[in-house]
């Protein structure tokens, strides 16, 4: 079964969260349950000489939902098999089986499983499976005002966009085989030499 994947152009993402809003609207999720969320990355610092700023920080955004990993650690971590790969190859959670232990949340390096504290169950992005079955892309992928998101099978996308999966501070992709391709931001190179952090953690 081919792996579904997102193309994430971090060189053009403005962090406007239209994708996130489209996801909330389509899936009727509360604002704190973010099946798609946008990480704001900050790095570098200010350096002053005679009052003028000769070096300035950098920043970029990474929009992320479930990456539909080839080796989904959330599935491995689940003690009840609630988190499973369905017949269309999409990792989903069965709310009847989920006991809300949140192990999958711990395991996933991308924060894809999102805990709903009211119903005490994990929830997560299912790539808008109903849209996929109807021949449409997920709501987020068609939302981006910058056209910085795309969706397809990994194979299709890699022909168009290459196979880059590395961008700090995302983890090494090898362990998870995530379904995404990244176009690095102009300052991605600086991130390898200078410290980067995820800002605005409360908004994620």
């Amino acid at each position: 079964m081919p792996q579904y994947a997102f193309y994430i152009d971090t060189s053009a993402c403005s962090g406007c969260k239209a994708c996130q809003a489209a996801c909330h609207d389509k899936n009727n999720t509360r604002s704190e349950i973010k099946w798609r969320r946008v990480y704001e990355i900050e790095g570098g610092g200010w350096e002053q000489q005679n009052g003028a700023f000769i070096s300035v920080p950098f920043s970029y955004f990474i929009s992320m939902s479930c990456n539909n990993c080839g080796s989904p650690v959330c599935v491995k971590a689940c003690p009840t098999t609630a988190m499973h790969i369905d017949k269309n190859g999409i990792t989903v959670v069965d709310p009847q089986l989920c006991i809300g232990c949140r192990y999958c949340e711990w395991a996933c390096p991308y924060n894809a499983p999102q805990y709903d504290s009211i119903i005490k169950t994990m929830t997560k992005c299912d790539l808008c499976e109903d849209y996929l079955l109807a021949g449409k892309k997920p709501a987020c992928a068609d939302a981006c005002p910058m056209r910085a998101l795309d969706f397809g099978t990994f194979e299709e996308l890699s022909r168009k966009y290459g196979e880059e999966k590395r961008l700090l501070p995302l983890p090494e992709p090898g362990l998870f085989d995530p379904g995404f391709i990244i176009k690095p931001h102009r300052d991605a190179g600086r991130a390898t030499n200078e410290k980067v952090k995820v800002a605005a953690k409360k908004e994620i």
Binding site: S11, A12, C13, S14, G15, C16, K17, A18, Q20, A21, A22, H24, D25, N27, N28, T29, R30, S31, E32, I33, E42, G44, W46, Q48, Q49, G51, A52, F53, I54, V56, P57, S59, Y60, F61, D86, I90, V92, V93, P95, Q96, D116, I118, I119, T123, K124, D126, E129, D130, D142, A143, C144, P145, M146, R147, A148, H185, A199, A200, K202, E203
Partner: protein, 801 residues
């Protein structure tokens, strides 16, 4: 949910509405029984199983800079989903008009439990927020009685409908009320806006026109683009403006963003971000001119043919001995050459960077210098507009594909519409600068030409009645809230205030009468493409107005009956839909878009929008550039005026110089005030709101909560940590908000995004985070505009009590 099923709501219509509002609240709890990927949890499961309709319409934009297309899903009269433009193609000439978070999150505003439902009459003191429910008949009687009384006792010029853009289709907001008052003898007028007061006035002094912009697709012809204080990714300066910059970069343009904040646009659209001290842009521009002139990078042919006042050889008659633009830049009169080193001390931009940007801009032609509007909402906003235009002129980047003339830059070749709805003629000829309405309350009769009064030497009244529609200007969006609420609280000054809106806003709390308006989804409207677009949107009525809400037009039509002018007001009985038809068939089709489909075809096709693709973008001032003798500008010399004789003749050289100059602001880091208030505060346009609209929308505000953004170093000095509550204050007021410590704003500057709802505590400290408790009511010299970003403040960690 505070709505109860009382008697008044027990008819079937309102029962359904109750379900609608409750359903939204319920919808947001994901039902455990619904399996992801199978049945989608939410309102579809709760609200019946009626047929789903999809209606294409314009986004209720509330006058953000964008105009986008929404695909609204409706089931049983309830909006269940909001998608955006999915027209095939998505070509640069006719790109999809994709909505942002504000449009996509609209359901949470539409079905907000705090929506106004009934007319309300004040019971407590003004501003206390205490009201009782009254009937529409009572409300309209009060309106009729008060308007009649004020006209009788004072005259029509004591009536005022303030600026406001909270509902901004051609049939909603303030326009119907303007039409009604015009039928009743008129009201005090205003001119200009809070958005771009300075550029609106300054641009014509240079170019004789506001239409100095090429169509935006032309940016793809540029090699170099300076986004100066311009953040189109967030404030949406035209739908797709940010996307066009992306396309220009793909074609090889180099882009630079100059801004005190590392804005979304600086991150996503620029190859380089250059932080600059707020209010000093004209200094950097002048130093760029110094480099361009001294290194002989000027376009001398263009200057000699098309400019006036560049140097002593081309001074206007009677001003031959005055200081030319070049004199100022080289410092031949004032002894201060405007070198990059001079600018570095003011702007904090390294001299080498200033020089490099100047060289790049002058040599990587054609180049765009796009001026954002934030830097002209400042003490000397007029100067920065003219200084930017001067750079375009001396490098000859005007009237050519890929160039850009700067200034207001309304697109050439097709005037924007702004208002099409026929409001009629105002029999009161007097108008005031929009920002000076509190002055007109306090001393209207004493105001004169020095205050920018137009149409008559002076108003013959102070403002005595305010009818505020789709506007939060009364309290929230005007400068110096603590001053404004004192003025509004005095019932001897403004004797009657009516506010017409969707919510009990901070402004509505100062009303004597509150009129509940429906949203744009609940009535008909027509929108145009704002400043740029070649688009017309038909926005049909998608849902019924809930409870006793009515459209702005309906409210005015009902009121017109009380005045006995219903027939004239409705032009023989037109309803909202009939006006939408009139606007499309009799206005747009007979002026700019003759090929546009008829209203009825547009309605049938459910297209939502008509777009005229931009195949060959129009270039502003191209004819003038080719032959300035044959196509002169509407300036006194017919040329681009780097030196302006009309400004010279005003004889106020300190504040209104004849050539564009950097002037130190009245509150700045360079004055004595900085000892007490060392930080500059700016209030950028925030992604989560359109001005103050959406401030109560959880879906947008949780994505972008209100914050005071502060640089790490400034925070560390004050022992402030990320997430702390901080107090920000100056002599005019104080606010408390959560601090976001970030490296993405330059040291010495804080940002308090404008538009948060004013929420005062007992001692008057604002806990809503509204920057206008800190801003000043002082106006700019030439435009009489709002300088709301020119303020100095101090910040400390907030401690209760």
């Amino acid at each position: 949910m505070s709505i109860s099923l009382n008697k008044a709501e027990s008819n079937s219509f309102n029962r359904r509405l109750f379900l609608k509002f409750s359903a939204m609240a319920g919808a947001l709890l994901i039902n455990r029984g619904n399996k992801p990927g199978k049945t989608r949890a939410g309102i579809t499961g709760i609200i019946g199983t009626g047929e789903e309709k999809i209606i294409r319409t314009g986004c209720p934009a509330h006058n953000c800079g964008g105009r986008c297309l929404l695909k609204v899903h409706v089931r049983d009269g309830i909006i269940t989903r909001i998608e955006t433009d999915d027209r095939p193609g998505d070509e640069v000439s006719d790109p999809q008009l994709r909505a942002c978070i504000r449009g996509r999150s609209y359901r949470s505003r539409q079905y907000h439990p705090d929506r106004l439902k009934y007319p309300l009459k004040r019971t407590g003191k003004r501003g206390e927020g205490k009201f009782e429910r009254i009937t529409w008949d009572e409300a309209l009687d009060i309106m009729h009685g008060e308007i009649s009384r004020v006209i009788r006792e004072y005259g029509n010029s004591a009536l005022f409908i303030p600026y406001g853009t909270g509902s901004y289709t051609n049939l909603n907001g303030r326009w119907p009320a303007v039409r009604l008052l015009n039928l009743l003898g008129g009201c005090l007028g205003y001119y200009n806006s809070y958005s771009w007061a300075c550029t609106n006035i300054a641009t014509p002094y240079v170019y004789g026109t506001l239409n100095t912009g090429n169509q935006r697709q032309d940016w793809l012809n540029s090699r170099y683009i300076i986004m100066w204080g311009w953040n189109p990714a967030e404030m949406i300066d035209g739908t797709n403006s940010a996307y066009f910059i992306k396309k220009a970069r793909e074609k090889g343009a180099r882009t630079v963003c100059i801004d005190p904040r590392m804005s979304m646009s600086a991150v996503a659209l620029a190859d380089e971000w250059i932080p600059i001290r707020p209010g000093t842009d004209a200094a950097m521009m002048s130093a760029m001119a110094w480099v361009i002139i001294t290194e002989k990078l000027t376009d001398d042919d263009f200057i000699s043919r098309c400019c006036s006042g560049f140097d002593s050889t081309q001074m206007p008659e009677g001003c031959e001995k005055e200081e030319s633009y070049k004199d100022y830049i080289l410092g031949t009169r004032d002894g201060i050459p405007k070198t990059p080193e001079w600018a570095e001390k003011i702007t904090s931009v390294p001299a080498s960077t200033v020089a490099r940007i100047a060289r790049e801009y002058a040599t990587l032609r054609p180049a765009v210098l796009y001026q954002g509007y934030g830097m002209q909402r400042r003490a000397y906003g007029e100067q920065v507009v003219r200084a930017g235009a001067a750079l375009s002129a001396i490098t000859g980047n005007i009237g050519i594909p890929g160039g850009w003339a700067s200034g207001l830059a309304s697109q050439a070749g097709s005037e924007p519409f702004w208002t099409v709805f026929p409001v009629g003629k105002n029999p009161v000829k007097t108008s005031i600068p929009v920002f000076l309405w509190t002055e007109a309350i306090l001393r209207g009769k004493e105001m004169g030409p020095a205050d920018g009064v137009r149409g008559a030497p002076k108003p013959d009244n102070n403002i005595k009645l305010i009818w505020c529609i789709a506007s939060n200007i009364l309290v929230n969006q005007h400068s110096n809230i603590n001053r404004t609420i004192k003025i509004l609280g005095d019932e001897k000054l403004v004797e009657f205030i009516a506010v017409q809106d969707n919510f009990l806003t901070p402004s509505a709390k100062y009303a004597d009468l509150v009129l509940p308006a429906c949203t744009q989804f609940e009535t008909w409207g027509v929108e145009d493409g704002w400043k740029y677009g070649e688009e017309v949107f038909l926005t049909p009525k998608i849902a019924d107005p809930p409870y006793e809400t009515k459209s702005d037009y309906r409210i005015c039509a009902d009121l017109s009956k009380k005045f006995g002018v219903w027939d004239e007001f409705t032009s023989g009985g037109k309803d909202e839909r009939a006006w939408a038809e009139w606007i499309i068939d009799n206005y747009y089709r007979k002026t700019r878009f003759p090929e546009m489909p008829l209203f009825k075809n547009m309605e049938e096709s459910n297209a939502g929008v008509y777009v005229k693709p931009v195949i060959e973008p129009v270039v502003a001032l191209a004819g003038f550039r080719k032959d300035p003798g044959r196509y002169p500008l509407k300036t006194p010399t017919g040329k681009i005026e780097l030196f302006s004789k009309p400004l010279f003749d005003m004889n106020l050289p300190e504040e209104i110089p004849a050539v564009p100059k950097y002037i130190t602001e009245w509150e700045s880091p360079f004055g004595r005030e900085a000892e007490k208030y060392p930080l500059q505060a700016i209030g950028h346009h925030y992604m989560s709101r359109v001005h103050s609209t959406h401030d109560n929308n959880k879906m947008t505000m949780n994505a972008f909560p209100q914050h005071v953004f502060m640089n790490d170093n400034d925070a560390a000095e004050r022992k402030i940590r990320n997430g702390d509550l901080v107090r920000v204050w100056n002599d005019r007021g104080a606010l408390v908000a959560r601090c976001r410590v970030t490296s993405k704003i330059m040291p010495g500057v804080i940002d308090i995004p404008q538009g948060a709802w004013y929420n005062p505590g007992e001692d008057g400290t604002d806990f809503g985070g509204n920057i206008n408790v800190l801003t000043t009511e002082r106006w700019t010299a030439l435009a009489k505009g709002n300088p709301q970003h020119t303020i100095m403040v101090q910040v400390e960690k907030y401690r209760k009590g």
